[in-house]
């Protein structure tokens, strides 16, 4: 089954991004497919390559990048939301790409399920 994922909150401030990540890992472990993870609202802040969490805490951004690298998951950041919040190619973490809201709608159309994580 194909899953689409929508992440609406930034890293650390809310648990939404953590839950979405752990959900994605379980989707893959169950043998399902992730059509796309779409980052909207403050969710775009998950894509900042400049984050440096304390050593004893999880690295949320690096985790997403690794998911893209190891499983080819498509991580898409909404361009309009990203511009409002200062996420651009110059501070974009590996594995993410910036694109339009149409990519979210497409995920809704193409995926069998769309799950929203937010506040």
């Amino acid at each position: 089954m194909k899953f689409g994922i929508l992440v609406n909150e930034g890293p650390y401030q809310h648990q939404a991004s953590d839950t979405a990540y752990l959900f994605c890992k379980a989707v893959l472990a169950q043998g399902h497919e992730i059509f796309r993870v779409f980052f909207y609202h403050d969710g775009v802040n998950n894509a900042s390559r400049l984050t440096e969490p304390p050593q004893d805490d999880r690295n949320i951004v690096a985790r997403w990048s690794k998911l893209a690298e190891e499983h080819g998951v498509d991580l898409v950041v909404c361009v309009a939301a990203a511009l409002r919040r200062g996420i651009k190619d110059e501070n974009l973490a590996p594995g993410f790409r910036i694109s339009g809201l149409g990519q979210l709608v497409e995920a809704g159309i193409q995926a069998d399920r769309l799950v929203t994580f937010g506040d």
Partner: protein, 124 residues
């Protein structure tokens, strides 16, 4: 699935007041794009979401864009299914006359049934 092949029923569930947070504004941006994909789009306004449709919003004092006129423009994008929760209006002392656009007022149970019929639900 909707009756036409390739068309899905998308419902946007709005439960938050405008301006206090950005969700209402950014939800509208998704709605407009979804219509451009020729999907079957409906909007549901529940709880504080009904405040999004309130007439007379004047945002000059908070120096923020007033995006409420966009709800009036939805018709031009063939988005005509706007459902508003009856109990939410009543609790907030509002009637249909207080709203910017024509809507269908439904009670919670009817909204719940409608939700069950969707293919995709996006909540903001």
């Amino acid at each position: 699935m909707s009756e036409e092949p390739g068309i899905k029923k998308f419902m946007f569930v709005n439960r938050k007041a405008p301006y206090g947070t950005v969700y209402a504004l950014e939800a509208l941006e998704v709605v407009l794009i979804t219509a451009a994909f020729d999907q079957d789009v409906s909007l549901a306004f529940l709880d504080d979401g009904v405040f999004q449709l309130r007439k007379g919003q004047q945002t000059k004092g908070i120096e923020t864009k007033n995006f409420s006129p966009t709800y009036r423009a939805l018709e031009g994008y063939d988005i005509e299914k706007l459902y508003v929760e009856k109990e939410a209006l009543a609790a907030r002392g509002l009637t249909e006359d207080d709203l910017l656009v024509d809507v269908t007022v439904l009670d919670r149970k009817a909204l719940g049934v409608l939700m069950d019929e969707q293919d995709v639900i996006l909540s903001f």
